[in-house]
Protein backbone atom coordinates (compact mmCIF):
# COMPACT_ATOMS: atom_id res chain seq x y z
CA UNK A 1 0.00 0.00 0.00
CA UNK A 2 2.89 2.35 0.74
CA UNK A 3 4.06 2.07 -2.86
CA UNK A 4 0.56 3.07 -4.06
CA UNK A 5 0.37 6.05 -1.71
CA UNK A 6 3.79 7.34 -2.75
CA UNK A 7 3.03 6.87 -6.44
CA UNK A 8 -0.31 8.67 -6.03
CA UNK A 9 1.30 11.60 -4.23
CA UNK A 10 3.99 11.88 -6.91
CA UNK A 11 1.36 12.00 -9.65
CA UNK A 12 -0.74 14.48 -7.72
CA UNK A 13 2.20 16.79 -7.11
CA UNK A 14 3.16 16.62 -10.77
CA UNK A 15 -0.19 18.03 -11.92
CA UNK A 16 0.14 21.48 -10.40
CA UNK A 17 -3.16 22.70 -11.78
CA UNK A 18 -5.20 19.96 -10.15
CA UNK A 19 -3.31 20.47 -6.91
CA UNK A 20 -4.00 24.20 -7.00
CA UNK A 21 -7.65 23.50 -7.62
CA UNK A 22 -7.85 21.05 -4.76
CA UNK A 23 -6.21 23.36 -2.27
CA UNK A 24 -6.94 26.88 -3.41
CA UNK A 25 -10.36 26.70 -4.97
CA UNK A 26 -12.39 25.67 -1.90
CA UNK A 27 -10.90 28.59 0.03
CA UNK A 28 -11.66 31.12 -2.69
CA UNK A 29 -15.12 29.73 -3.28
CA UNK A 30 -16.00 29.80 0.41
CA UNK A 31 -14.91 33.41 0.78
CA UNK A 32 -16.59 34.57 -2.43
CA UNK A 33 -19.80 32.64 -1.94
CA UNK A 34 -19.94 33.55 1.73
CA UNK A 35 -20.02 37.21 0.87
CA UNK A 36 -22.34 36.69 -2.07
CA UNK A 37 -24.82 34.44 -0.29
CA UNK A 38 -27.26 36.99 0.99
CA UNK A 39 -30.99 37.11 0.43
CA UNK A 40 -31.44 40.29 2.46
CA UNK A 41 -31.82 43.24 0.18
CA UNK A 42 -30.70 46.30 2.11
CA UNK A 43 -31.22 48.81 -0.68
CA UNK A 44 -34.39 48.88 -2.76
CA UNK A 45 -34.25 51.34 -5.67
CA UNK A 46 -37.53 53.24 -5.41
CA UNK A 47 -39.30 55.88 -7.49
CA UNK A 48 -42.00 58.09 -6.08
CA UNK A 49 -44.47 59.89 -8.38
CA UNK A 50 -47.65 61.98 -8.14
CA UNK A 51 -48.64 65.25 -6.45
CA UNK A 52 -47.49 64.18 -2.97
CA UNK A 53 -44.29 62.57 -4.21
CA UNK A 54 -41.93 64.80 -2.25
CA UNK A 55 -43.73 64.25 1.08
CA UNK A 56 -43.99 60.52 0.56
CA UNK A 57 -40.35 60.26 -0.43
CA UNK A 58 -39.36 62.04 2.77
CA UNK A 59 -41.20 59.40 4.81
CA UNK A 60 -39.35 56.52 3.15
CA UNK A 61 -36.31 55.24 4.99
CA UNK A 62 -33.99 52.30 4.53
CA UNK A 63 -34.23 49.81 2.91
CA UNK A 64 -35.88 52.15 0.40
CA UNK A 65 -33.39 54.03 -1.72
CA UNK A 66 -35.31 56.78 -3.48
CA UNK A 67 -33.68 57.26 -6.84
CA UNK A 68 -36.31 59.46 -8.47
CA UNK A 69 -39.05 61.81 -7.29
CA UNK A 70 -41.42 62.95 -10.02
CA UNK A 71 -44.47 65.06 -8.95
CA UNK A 72 -45.94 65.01 -12.48
CA UNK A 73 -45.35 61.31 -13.06
CA UNK A 74 -48.11 58.70 -12.89
CA UNK A 75 -48.63 54.96 -12.79
CA UNK A 76 -47.28 54.62 -16.34
CA UNK A 77 -44.03 56.31 -15.29
CA UNK A 78 -43.57 53.81 -12.50
CA UNK A 79 -44.42 50.85 -14.71
CA UNK A 80 -41.81 51.94 -17.22
CA UNK A 81 -39.14 52.25 -14.48
CA UNK A 82 -39.99 48.81 -13.11
CA UNK A 83 -39.99 47.31 -16.60
CA UNK A 84 -36.55 48.75 -17.36
CA UNK A 85 -35.25 47.47 -14.05
CA UNK A 86 -34.33 50.98 -12.92
CA UNK A 87 -36.44 50.56 -9.79
CA UNK A 88 -37.85 47.64 -7.84
CA UNK A 89 -40.59 49.62 -6.11
CA UNK A 90 -42.60 52.60 -7.35
CA UNK A 91 -45.01 54.62 -5.24
CA UNK A 92 -47.91 56.37 -6.94
CA UNK A 93 -49.29 59.16 -4.72
CA UNK A 94 -52.30 61.43 -5.20
CA UNK A 95 -54.89 58.73 -4.69
CA UNK A 96 -56.29 56.87 -1.79
CA UNK A 97 -54.93 54.45 -0.98
CA UNK A 98 -51.44 55.21 -2.24
CA UNK A 99 -50.30 52.38 -4.52
CA UNK A 100 -46.90 50.74 -4.20
CA UNK A 101 -46.09 48.91 -7.44
CA UNK A 102 -43.44 46.26 -7.08
CA UNK A 103 -41.35 44.27 -9.58
CA UNK A 104 -42.26 40.63 -8.90
CA UNK A 105 -39.13 39.45 -10.74
CA UNK A 106 -37.08 40.89 -7.88
CA UNK A 107 -38.42 38.44 -5.36
CA UNK A 108 -36.27 39.36 -2.39
CA UNK A 109 -36.59 43.11 -2.93
CA UNK A 110 -40.36 42.74 -2.96
CA UNK A 111 -40.32 40.68 0.24
CA UNK A 112 -38.06 43.25 1.91
CA UNK A 113 -40.32 46.08 0.72
CA UNK A 114 -43.47 44.33 1.97
CA UNK A 115 -41.86 43.86 5.37
CA UNK A 116 -40.76 47.48 5.48
CA UNK A 117 -44.24 48.72 4.57
CA UNK A 118 -45.76 46.58 7.31
CA UNK A 119 -43.30 47.97 9.86
CA UNK A 120 -44.03 51.52 8.68
CA UNK A 121 -47.78 50.97 9.10
CA UNK A 122 -47.27 49.53 12.59
CA UNK A 123 -45.09 52.45 13.64
CA UNK A 124 -47.61 54.85 12.16
CA UNK A 125 -50.48 53.36 14.18
CA UNK A 126 -48.40 53.83 17.31
CA UNK A 127 -47.71 57.49 16.52
CA UNK A 128 -51.27 58.45 15.56
CA UNK A 129 -51.70 57.49 11.88
CA UNK A 130 -50.29 60.33 9.81
CA UNK A 131 -49.08 58.27 6.84
CA UNK A 132 -51.64 57.38 4.15
CA UNK A 133 -52.47 53.70 3.73
CA UNK A 134 -50.24 51.99 1.17
CA UNK A 135 -51.75 49.33 -1.08
CA UNK A 136 -49.05 47.03 -2.46
CA UNK A 137 -49.44 45.62 -5.95
CA UNK A 138 -46.97 43.13 -7.37
CA UNK A 139 -46.46 43.22 -11.13
CA UNK A 140 -45.03 40.58 -13.51
CA UNK A 141 -45.07 37.80 -10.91
CA UNK A 142 -48.10 38.56 -8.73
CA UNK A 143 -47.91 35.32 -6.74
CA UNK A 144 -44.15 35.77 -6.23
CA UNK A 145 -43.49 32.31 -7.62
CA UNK A 146 -39.85 31.27 -7.32
CA UNK A 147 -40.13 29.06 -10.41
CA UNK A 148 -41.10 32.06 -12.53
CA UNK A 149 -37.89 33.88 -11.77
CA UNK A 150 -35.68 30.78 -11.70
CA UNK A 151 -36.61 29.22 -15.03
CA UNK A 152 -35.63 32.14 -17.29
CA UNK A 153 -32.24 32.19 -15.55
CA UNK A 154 -31.90 28.41 -15.57
CA UNK A 155 -32.21 28.38 -19.35
CA UNK A 156 -29.02 30.45 -19.33
CA UNK A 157 -27.30 28.10 -16.94
CA UNK A 158 -28.09 25.11 -19.12
CA UNK A 159 -26.81 26.92 -22.21
CA UNK A 160 -23.68 27.82 -20.28
CA UNK A 161 -23.07 24.21 -19.40
CA UNK A 162 -23.60 22.87 -22.90
CA UNK A 163 -21.77 25.72 -24.59
CA UNK A 164 -18.67 25.76 -22.47
CA UNK A 165 -18.16 22.17 -21.45
CA UNK A 166 -19.16 20.32 -24.59
CA UNK A 167 -17.30 22.68 -26.92
CA UNK A 168 -14.08 22.58 -24.94
CA UNK A 169 -14.24 18.77 -24.80
CA UNK A 170 -14.84 18.57 -28.55
CA UNK A 171 -11.68 20.48 -29.38
CA UNK A 172 -9.50 18.89 -26.72
CA UNK A 173 -10.50 15.51 -28.14
CA UNK A 174 -9.05 16.56 -31.51
CA UNK A 175 -5.88 17.64 -29.77
CA UNK A 176 -5.55 14.40 -27.81
CA UNK A 177 -6.21 12.27 -30.89
CA UNK A 178 -3.68 14.33 -32.86
CA UNK A 179 -6.21 15.09 -35.59
CA UNK A 180 -5.79 18.81 -34.89
CA UNK A 181 -2.38 18.62 -36.57
CA UNK A 182 -4.01 17.26 -39.67
CA UNK A 183 -6.63 20.00 -39.62
CA UNK A 184 -3.78 22.50 -39.40
CA UNK A 185 -2.26 21.13 -42.59
CA UNK A 186 -5.59 20.98 -44.43
CA UNK A 187 -6.64 24.01 -46.48
CA UNK A 188 -8.72 25.48 -43.63
CA UNK A 189 -8.40 28.96 -42.18
CA UNK A 190 -8.37 29.03 -38.37
CA UNK A 191 -11.85 30.50 -38.22
CA UNK A 192 -13.12 27.79 -40.61
CA UNK A 193 -12.10 25.28 -37.98
CA UNK A 194 -13.37 27.28 -35.00
CA UNK A 195 -16.73 28.22 -36.46
CA UNK A 196 -17.07 24.83 -38.09
CA UNK A 197 -16.58 23.37 -34.65
CA UNK A 198 -18.90 25.85 -32.89
CA UNK A 199 -21.79 25.95 -35.36
CA UNK A 200 -23.18 22.46 -34.68
CA UNK A 201 -23.11 23.13 -30.92
CA UNK A 202 -24.76 26.51 -31.49
CA UNK A 203 -27.56 24.80 -33.37
CA UNK A 204 -27.93 22.08 -30.77
CA UNK A 205 -27.92 24.56 -27.89
CA UNK A 206 -30.54 26.66 -29.68
CA UNK A 207 -32.83 23.65 -29.98
CA UNK A 208 -32.16 22.90 -26.34
CA UNK A 209 -33.07 26.44 -25.42
CA UNK A 210 -36.39 26.25 -27.25
CA UNK A 211 -37.16 22.95 -25.53
CA UNK A 212 -36.30 24.29 -22.07
CA UNK A 213 -38.36 27.46 -22.49
CA UNK A 214 -41.36 25.50 -23.78
CA UNK A 215 -41.01 23.01 -20.96
CA UNK A 216 -40.80 25.82 -18.41
CA UNK A 217 -43.94 27.38 -19.83
CA UNK A 218 -45.81 24.08 -20.02
CA UNK A 219 -44.81 22.54 -16.69
CA UNK A 220 -44.43 25.60 -14.47
CA UNK A 221 -46.73 28.05 -16.23
CA UNK A 222 -43.91 30.57 -16.66
CA UNK A 223 -45.21 33.37 -18.91
CA UNK A 224 -43.44 34.59 -22.02
CA UNK A 225 -44.86 38.04 -22.52
CA UNK A 226 -42.02 39.75 -24.38
CA UNK A 227 -40.52 39.67 -27.84
CA UNK A 228 -39.19 36.33 -29.06
CA UNK A 229 -36.76 38.19 -31.32
CA UNK A 230 -35.21 40.18 -28.44
CA UNK A 231 -34.90 36.98 -26.42
CA UNK A 232 -33.35 35.25 -29.44
CA UNK A 233 -30.76 37.99 -29.94
CA UNK A 234 -29.84 37.89 -26.24
CA UNK A 235 -29.60 34.09 -26.26
CA UNK A 236 -27.47 34.07 -29.41
CA UNK A 237 -24.99 36.60 -28.00
CA UNK A 238 -24.84 34.72 -24.71
CA UNK A 239 -24.29 31.43 -26.54
CA UNK A 240 -21.46 32.94 -28.58
CA UNK A 241 -19.77 33.97 -25.33
CA UNK A 242 -20.15 30.51 -23.78
CA UNK A 243 -19.04 28.70 -26.95
CA UNK A 244 -16.09 31.06 -27.34
CA UNK A 245 -15.20 30.38 -23.72
CA UNK A 246 -15.31 26.67 -24.54
CA UNK A 247 -12.83 27.17 -27.39
CA UNK A 248 -10.63 29.32 -25.17
CA UNK A 249 -10.61 26.68 -22.43
CA UNK A 250 -9.68 24.03 -24.97
CA UNK A 251 -6.67 26.07 -26.13
CA UNK A 252 -5.19 26.04 -22.63
CA UNK A 253 -6.06 22.42 -21.81
CA UNK A 254 -3.92 19.47 -22.75
CA UNK A 255 -6.51 16.84 -21.94
CA UNK A 256 -10.20 16.40 -21.25
CA UNK A 257 -9.68 16.36 -17.49
CA UNK A 258 -8.11 19.81 -17.52
CA UNK A 259 -10.84 21.11 -19.80
CA UNK A 260 -13.52 19.84 -17.42
CA UNK A 261 -11.78 21.44 -14.43
CA UNK A 262 -11.56 24.82 -16.14
CA UNK A 263 -15.12 24.64 -17.43
CA UNK A 264 -16.35 23.92 -13.90
CA UNK A 265 -14.34 26.86 -12.59
CA UNK A 266 -16.07 29.04 -15.15
CA UNK A 267 -19.58 27.65 -14.64
CA UNK A 268 -19.87 27.23 -10.85
CA UNK A 269 -19.30 30.89 -9.89
CA UNK A 270 -22.01 31.89 -12.34
CA UNK A 271 -24.58 29.73 -10.56
CA UNK A 272 -24.11 31.69 -7.34
CA UNK A 273 -22.91 35.10 -8.49
CA UNK A 274 -25.01 35.90 -11.55
CA UNK A 275 -28.13 36.96 -9.71
CA UNK A 276 -29.75 33.64 -10.60
CA UNK A 277 -30.13 32.75 -6.91
CA UNK A 278 -28.83 35.64 -4.81
CA UNK A 279 -29.76 39.15 -5.89
CA UNK A 280 -26.71 40.98 -7.26
CA UNK A 281 -27.70 44.12 -5.36
CA UNK A 282 -27.56 42.28 -2.05
CA UNK A 283 -23.99 41.03 -2.53
CA UNK A 284 -21.09 42.55 -0.61
CA UNK A 285 -19.45 45.24 -2.74
CA UNK A 286 -16.16 43.29 -2.71
CA UNK A 287 -17.67 40.39 -4.64
CA UNK A 288 -20.40 42.23 -6.53
CA UNK A 289 -17.98 43.27 -9.26
CA UNK A 290 -17.45 39.58 -10.05
CA UNK A 291 -21.13 39.38 -10.95
CA UNK A 292 -20.62 42.14 -13.50
CA UNK A 293 -17.89 40.27 -15.37
CA UNK A 294 -19.95 37.07 -15.66
CA UNK A 295 -21.97 36.69 -18.85
CA UNK A 296 -24.82 34.85 -17.13
CA UNK A 297 -25.59 37.98 -15.06
CA UNK A 298 -26.52 39.79 -18.25
CA UNK A 299 -28.43 36.90 -19.76
CA UNK A 300 -30.48 36.53 -16.55
CA UNK A 301 -31.35 40.23 -16.93
CA UNK A 302 -32.41 39.73 -20.52
CA UNK A 303 -34.34 36.50 -20.07
CA UNK A 304 -36.26 37.70 -17.00
CA UNK A 305 -36.86 41.08 -18.59
CA UNK A 306 -38.24 39.65 -21.82
CA UNK A 307 -40.11 36.61 -20.53
CA UNK A 308 -41.74 38.15 -17.48
CA UNK A 309 -41.78 41.89 -18.05
CA UNK A 310 -41.99 42.26 -21.86
CA UNK A 311 -39.03 44.57 -21.57
CA UNK A 312 -38.39 46.13 -25.00
CA UNK A 313 -35.00 45.84 -26.70
CA UNK A 314 -34.29 49.52 -26.01
CA UNK A 315 -34.47 48.89 -22.26
CA UNK A 316 -32.06 45.98 -22.53
CA UNK A 317 -29.35 47.67 -24.51
CA UNK A 318 -26.82 47.56 -21.66
CA UNK A 319 -26.80 43.75 -21.17
CA UNK A 320 -27.04 43.22 -24.93
CA UNK A 321 -24.08 45.48 -25.66
CA UNK A 322 -22.05 43.93 -22.83
CA UNK A 323 -22.74 40.42 -24.17
CA UNK A 324 -21.83 41.57 -27.68
CA UNK A 325 -18.56 42.97 -26.37
CA UNK A 326 -17.85 39.80 -24.39
CA UNK A 327 -18.64 37.61 -27.42
CA UNK A 328 -16.29 39.67 -29.59
CA UNK A 329 -13.51 39.60 -27.01
CA UNK A 330 -13.79 35.92 -26.14
CA UNK A 331 -14.13 34.70 -29.72
CA UNK A 332 -11.35 37.02 -30.88
CA UNK A 333 -9.04 35.72 -28.19
CA UNK A 334 -10.06 32.15 -28.95
CA UNK A 335 -9.25 32.59 -32.65
CA UNK A 336 -5.89 34.18 -31.81
CA UNK A 337 -4.94 31.39 -29.43
CA UNK A 338 -6.30 28.70 -31.71
CA UNK A 339 -4.16 30.04 -34.55
CA UNK A 340 -1.10 28.97 -32.62
CA UNK A 341 -2.29 25.39 -32.94
CA UNK A 342 -3.40 25.72 -36.51
CA UNK A 343 -0.92 27.96 -38.28
CA UNK A 344 2.29 28.38 -36.31
CA UNK A 345 4.38 29.25 -39.34
CA UNK A 346 1.85 31.74 -40.73
CA UNK A 347 1.74 33.53 -37.39
CA UNK A 348 5.43 34.31 -37.58
CA UNK A 349 5.75 34.67 -41.29
CA UNK A 350 7.75 37.85 -40.88
CA UNK A 351 10.38 36.05 -38.85
CA UNK A 352 10.30 32.86 -40.81
CA UNK A 353 13.04 32.51 -43.32
CA UNK A 354 10.99 31.01 -46.10
CA UNK A 355 8.12 31.78 -48.36
CA UNK A 356 5.77 28.86 -49.02
CA UNK A 357 5.44 28.32 -52.74
CA UNK A 358 1.93 28.14 -54.15
CA UNK A 359 0.96 24.82 -55.63
CA UNK A 360 1.41 24.40 -59.36
CA UNK A 361 1.44 28.15 -59.92
Amino acid sequence: MRAMVIKEFRQLLRDKRTLGLLVGLPVILLVVFGYAANFNVSKIPTVVVGPEAAESAAQLHAPFDVTEVDPVGNRATVESRLQDGKAAVGIVTGQNPVTALMDGTQLFAVQAAKGAFARMAQADVATGGKIPVIAPEVLYNPDLKTSWIMIPGLTGLILLFIGTLITSLGIVRERQAGTIEQLAVMPFRPWDVIFGKILPYLLLASLDLIAIVLLGMGLFGVPFVGSVVTFGIGALLFLLVTLGMGVLISTVSQNQGQAIQLAIMFVVPQILLSGLIFPVGAMAAGVRWIAYVLPLTYFVDISRGVMLKAEPIAGLWVPLVVLLGMAGAVLGLAVLRFRRDLAPSARHRGEDDFEPVAAAA
Partner: protein, 272 residues
Protein backbone atom coordinates in the same frame (compact mmCIF):
# COMPACT_ATOMS: atom_id res chain seq x y z
CA UNK B 1 9.30 21.26 -58.64
CA UNK B 2 11.31 19.82 -55.79
CA UNK B 3 9.98 20.17 -52.27
CA UNK B 4 12.00 20.03 -49.12
CA UNK B 5 14.12 21.77 -46.55
CA UNK B 6 17.47 23.41 -47.09
CA UNK B 7 19.61 23.68 -43.98
CA UNK B 8 16.45 23.43 -41.90
CA UNK B 9 16.93 24.14 -38.21
CA UNK B 10 14.24 23.98 -35.53
CA UNK B 11 14.87 25.01 -31.96
CA UNK B 12 12.58 24.67 -28.95
CA UNK B 13 13.99 26.99 -26.32
CA UNK B 14 17.58 25.96 -25.78
CA UNK B 15 17.09 22.59 -27.43
CA UNK B 16 17.90 22.14 -31.11
CA UNK B 17 15.50 19.48 -32.38
CA UNK B 18 16.58 19.67 -36.01
CA UNK B 19 20.04 20.94 -36.81
CA UNK B 20 20.86 22.14 -40.32
CA UNK B 21 19.14 19.28 -42.16
CA UNK B 22 18.59 19.28 -45.91
CA UNK B 23 15.81 17.10 -47.26
CA UNK B 24 14.88 16.88 -50.93
CA UNK B 25 11.64 15.40 -52.16
CA UNK B 26 11.38 14.83 -55.87
CA UNK B 27 7.97 14.25 -57.47
CA UNK B 28 7.45 10.60 -58.28
CA UNK B 29 9.92 9.36 -55.70
CA UNK B 30 9.92 8.09 -52.14
CA UNK B 31 12.26 9.62 -49.58
CA UNK B 32 12.71 7.72 -46.33
CA UNK B 33 13.82 9.43 -43.13
CA UNK B 34 15.34 6.86 -40.79
CA UNK B 35 16.28 7.40 -37.18
CA UNK B 36 15.70 6.20 -33.66
CA UNK B 37 13.17 7.65 -31.24
CA UNK B 38 13.96 11.28 -30.55
CA UNK B 39 16.20 11.63 -33.59
CA UNK B 40 14.17 14.61 -34.82
CA UNK B 41 12.23 12.88 -37.63
CA UNK B 42 8.80 14.09 -36.56
CA UNK B 43 9.98 17.66 -36.06
CA UNK B 44 11.63 17.57 -39.47
CA UNK B 45 8.38 16.45 -41.13
CA UNK B 46 6.33 18.95 -39.15
CA UNK B 47 8.66 21.71 -40.29
CA UNK B 48 8.30 20.50 -43.86
CA UNK B 49 4.50 20.80 -43.77
CA UNK B 50 4.62 24.10 -41.86
CA UNK B 51 3.45 22.92 -38.43
CA UNK B 52 6.58 24.20 -36.71
CA UNK B 53 8.50 27.30 -37.51
CA UNK B 54 12.02 27.05 -38.87
CA UNK B 55 14.54 29.03 -36.90
CA UNK B 56 17.04 28.66 -39.70
CA UNK B 57 17.15 27.51 -43.31
CA UNK B 58 14.48 27.43 -45.98
CA UNK B 59 11.41 25.33 -46.65
CA UNK B 60 9.93 24.71 -50.05
CA UNK B 61 6.46 23.29 -49.93
CA UNK B 62 3.34 23.39 -52.10
CA UNK B 63 0.18 25.16 -50.92
CA UNK B 64 -1.94 23.39 -48.31
CA UNK B 65 -4.27 22.22 -51.08
CA UNK B 66 -1.48 20.03 -52.45
CA UNK B 67 -0.14 18.55 -49.20
CA UNK B 68 -1.17 15.29 -47.61
CA UNK B 69 0.06 14.73 -44.06
CA UNK B 70 -0.42 12.03 -41.45
CA UNK B 71 1.00 12.64 -37.98
CA UNK B 72 2.39 9.74 -35.98
CA UNK B 73 -0.56 9.73 -33.60
CA UNK B 74 -3.67 9.71 -35.70
CA UNK B 75 -4.81 10.01 -39.22
CA UNK B 76 -8.52 9.45 -38.91
CA UNK B 77 -11.59 10.01 -36.75
CA UNK B 78 -12.39 6.93 -34.72
CA UNK B 79 -16.04 7.93 -34.34
CA UNK B 80 -16.67 8.31 -38.06
CA UNK B 81 -17.11 5.41 -40.45
CA UNK B 82 -14.56 4.61 -43.14
CA UNK B 83 -16.78 6.27 -45.73
CA UNK B 84 -17.46 9.32 -43.53
CA UNK B 85 -13.74 9.81 -42.93
CA UNK B 86 -13.11 9.84 -46.67
CA UNK B 87 -16.06 12.18 -47.26
CA UNK B 88 -14.69 14.62 -44.69
CA UNK B 89 -11.31 14.99 -46.37
CA UNK B 90 -12.97 15.14 -49.79
CA UNK B 91 -15.05 18.13 -48.66
CA UNK B 92 -12.10 19.74 -46.92
CA UNK B 93 -10.07 19.63 -50.13
CA UNK B 94 -13.02 20.48 -52.35
CA UNK B 95 -13.04 17.13 -54.19
CA UNK B 96 -16.41 17.07 -55.95
CA UNK B 97 -19.11 14.47 -55.31
CA UNK B 98 -18.61 12.21 -58.31
CA UNK B 99 -14.82 12.48 -58.25
CA UNK B 100 -14.88 11.74 -54.53
CA UNK B 101 -16.99 8.63 -55.09
CA UNK B 102 -14.80 7.15 -57.82
CA UNK B 103 -11.58 8.06 -56.01
CA UNK B 104 -12.89 6.62 -52.71
CA UNK B 105 -13.92 3.40 -54.45
CA UNK B 106 -10.53 3.11 -56.09
CA UNK B 107 -8.62 3.73 -52.86
CA UNK B 108 -10.86 1.47 -50.76
CA UNK B 109 -10.30 -1.28 -53.29
CA UNK B 110 -6.56 -0.73 -53.20
CA UNK B 111 -6.39 -0.94 -49.41
CA UNK B 112 -8.88 -3.77 -49.23
CA UNK B 113 -11.43 -1.93 -47.08
CA UNK B 114 -14.34 -2.00 -49.54
CA UNK B 115 -16.25 -4.40 -47.32
CA UNK B 116 -15.68 -2.38 -44.15
CA UNK B 117 -16.78 0.98 -45.51
CA UNK B 118 -19.54 1.41 -42.97
CA UNK B 119 -17.45 0.32 -39.96
CA UNK B 120 -16.32 2.97 -37.50
CA UNK B 121 -12.68 4.02 -37.74
CA UNK B 122 -12.20 2.95 -34.12
CA UNK B 123 -13.38 -0.57 -34.89
CA UNK B 124 -10.64 -1.17 -37.46
CA UNK B 125 -7.38 -2.93 -36.61
CA UNK B 126 -4.23 -0.81 -36.25
CA UNK B 127 -3.02 -1.76 -39.70
CA UNK B 128 -6.41 -1.03 -41.30
CA UNK B 129 -6.53 2.36 -39.56
CA UNK B 130 -3.13 3.23 -40.97
CA UNK B 131 -4.14 2.18 -44.47
CA UNK B 132 -7.30 4.25 -44.22
CA UNK B 133 -5.29 7.25 -43.02
CA UNK B 134 -3.00 6.92 -46.04
CA UNK B 135 -6.01 6.62 -48.34
CA UNK B 136 -7.44 9.80 -46.77
CA UNK B 137 -4.17 11.65 -47.31
CA UNK B 138 -4.08 10.47 -50.93
CA UNK B 139 -7.70 11.22 -51.81
CA UNK B 140 -7.03 14.71 -53.15
CA UNK B 141 -3.98 13.57 -55.16
CA UNK B 142 -1.42 15.67 -53.24
CA UNK B 143 1.86 16.75 -54.80
CA UNK B 144 3.62 16.19 -51.49
CA UNK B 145 2.68 13.32 -49.18
CA UNK B 146 4.27 13.35 -45.72
CA UNK B 147 3.81 10.40 -43.38
CA UNK B 148 5.19 10.15 -39.87
CA UNK B 149 5.92 6.52 -38.98
CA UNK B 150 2.94 5.04 -40.82
CA UNK B 151 4.19 1.50 -40.29
CA UNK B 152 5.10 1.58 -36.60
CA UNK B 153 3.25 -1.14 -34.74
CA UNK B 154 1.74 -2.51 -37.95
CA UNK B 155 1.91 -6.20 -38.81
CA UNK B 156 4.26 -7.24 -41.66
CA UNK B 157 1.45 -7.95 -44.15
CA UNK B 158 -0.15 -4.56 -43.62
CA UNK B 159 3.28 -2.97 -43.77
CA UNK B 160 3.87 -4.46 -47.18
CA UNK B 161 0.45 -3.24 -48.32
CA UNK B 162 1.14 0.25 -47.02
CA UNK B 163 4.40 0.41 -48.89
CA UNK B 164 2.68 -0.76 -52.06
CA UNK B 165 0.22 2.09 -51.60
CA UNK B 166 3.01 4.63 -51.17
CA UNK B 167 4.95 3.34 -54.15
CA UNK B 168 1.73 3.58 -56.17
CA UNK B 169 1.32 7.22 -55.11
CA UNK B 170 4.89 7.97 -56.13
CA UNK B 171 4.30 6.26 -59.47
CA UNK B 172 1.44 8.71 -60.03
CA UNK B 173 3.86 11.62 -59.53
CA UNK B 174 3.51 12.42 -55.84
CA UNK B 175 6.62 13.27 -53.85
CA UNK B 176 6.45 10.96 -50.81
CA UNK B 177 8.34 11.39 -47.53
CA UNK B 178 8.12 8.64 -44.92
CA UNK B 179 9.67 8.62 -41.48
CA UNK B 180 10.42 5.24 -39.98
CA UNK B 181 12.38 3.62 -37.18
CA UNK B 182 12.74 0.40 -39.18
CA UNK B 183 16.08 0.23 -40.95
CA UNK B 184 14.86 -2.44 -43.38
CA UNK B 185 12.28 0.01 -44.72
CA UNK B 186 14.93 2.48 -45.83
CA UNK B 187 15.58 0.29 -48.87
CA UNK B 188 12.10 1.24 -50.11
CA UNK B 189 13.16 4.80 -50.76
CA UNK B 190 15.04 6.18 -53.71
CA UNK B 191 16.58 8.63 -51.26
CA UNK B 192 17.34 8.01 -47.62
CA UNK B 193 18.10 10.48 -44.87
CA UNK B 194 19.61 9.03 -41.71
CA UNK B 195 19.11 11.16 -38.63
CA UNK B 196 20.49 11.06 -35.11
CA UNK B 197 20.08 13.70 -32.41
CA UNK B 198 18.62 16.17 -34.86
CA UNK B 199 21.48 15.92 -37.32
CA UNK B 200 21.93 14.24 -40.68
CA UNK B 201 24.37 11.35 -40.29
CA UNK B 202 24.06 10.08 -43.84
CA UNK B 203 22.04 10.93 -46.92
CA UNK B 204 21.68 9.72 -50.48
CA UNK B 205 20.40 6.65 -52.28
CA UNK B 206 20.70 3.35 -50.36
CA UNK B 207 23.59 2.28 -52.60
CA UNK B 208 25.32 5.64 -52.09
CA UNK B 209 25.06 5.19 -48.35
CA UNK B 210 26.41 1.64 -48.54
CA UNK B 211 29.19 2.77 -50.84
CA UNK B 212 30.19 5.53 -48.46
CA UNK B 213 30.93 3.16 -45.57
CA UNK B 214 34.57 3.86 -44.67
CA UNK B 215 37.01 1.15 -43.64
CA UNK B 216 36.20 -2.54 -43.85
CA UNK B 217 33.27 -4.66 -42.69
CA UNK B 218 33.85 -8.10 -41.37
CA UNK B 219 31.94 -11.02 -39.94
CA UNK B 220 32.96 -13.21 -37.03
CA UNK B 221 31.13 -16.45 -36.37
CA UNK B 222 30.92 -17.66 -32.81
CA UNK B 223 29.58 -16.49 -29.53
CA UNK B 224 32.49 -14.41 -28.25
CA UNK B 225 32.35 -10.71 -28.97
CA UNK B 226 35.31 -9.75 -31.15
CA UNK B 227 37.38 -6.70 -30.19
CA UNK B 228 36.75 -3.30 -31.81
CA UNK B 229 33.43 -1.97 -33.06
CA UNK B 230 31.10 -4.92 -33.31
CA UNK B 231 27.47 -5.84 -32.94
CA UNK B 232 25.37 -9.00 -32.97
CA UNK B 233 23.82 -10.01 -36.27
CA UNK B 234 21.82 -13.23 -36.01
CA UNK B 235 24.20 -15.96 -34.90
CA UNK B 236 27.32 -14.03 -35.89
CA UNK B 237 29.01 -10.70 -35.15
CA UNK B 238 29.47 -7.82 -37.57
CA UNK B 239 32.76 -5.98 -37.10
CA UNK B 240 33.58 -2.56 -38.47
CA UNK B 241 37.22 -1.59 -38.83
CA UNK B 242 37.46 2.12 -39.70
CA UNK B 243 41.19 1.81 -40.39
CA UNK B 244 40.81 -1.49 -42.33
CA UNK B 245 42.42 -3.41 -39.42
CA UNK B 246 39.96 -6.27 -39.01
CA UNK B 247 40.61 -8.39 -35.91
CA UNK B 248 41.93 -11.91 -36.28
CA UNK B 249 39.32 -14.41 -37.35
CA UNK B 250 37.14 -11.82 -39.02
CA UNK B 251 36.15 -12.49 -42.59
CA UNK B 252 35.74 -9.36 -44.78
CA UNK B 253 32.25 -8.90 -46.25
CA UNK B 254 30.48 -6.31 -48.37
CA UNK B 255 28.49 -3.97 -46.13
CA UNK B 256 24.70 -4.19 -46.20
CA UNK B 257 22.37 -1.22 -45.76
CA UNK B 258 21.84 -2.15 -42.11
CA UNK B 259 25.64 -2.13 -41.65
CA UNK B 260 25.79 1.31 -43.25
CA UNK B 261 23.19 2.62 -40.79
CA UNK B 262 25.09 1.20 -37.81
CA UNK B 263 28.40 2.57 -39.10
CA UNK B 264 26.90 6.01 -39.71
CA UNK B 265 25.51 6.06 -36.16
CA UNK B 266 28.84 4.90 -34.68
CA UNK B 267 30.82 7.36 -36.80
CA UNK B 268 28.60 10.28 -35.76
CA UNK B 269 29.04 9.36 -32.08
CA UNK B 270 32.82 9.29 -32.52
CA UNK B 271 32.81 12.80 -34.00
CA UNK B 272 30.82 14.04 -31.00
Amino acid sequence: MTWGLEGGTVTFGAKTAVDDVTLQVTPGSVTVVVGGDGAGKSTLLRALVGLVRLSGGRAQRPGKQAIGYIPATAGLYVDLTVEENLAFVARAYGVSGSDCRTRSEELLERIGLTETRSRLGGQLSGGMQRKLAVAMALLHRPELLVLDEPTTGVDPVSRAELWRLLSGAAAEGTGVVVATTYVDEANRGSTVLLMDQGKTIAAGSPSDIIGAVPGTMGVVRGSDRPPGQSWRWGTSWRVWAPADDLPDGAEPVAPTFADAVMVAALASQQVV
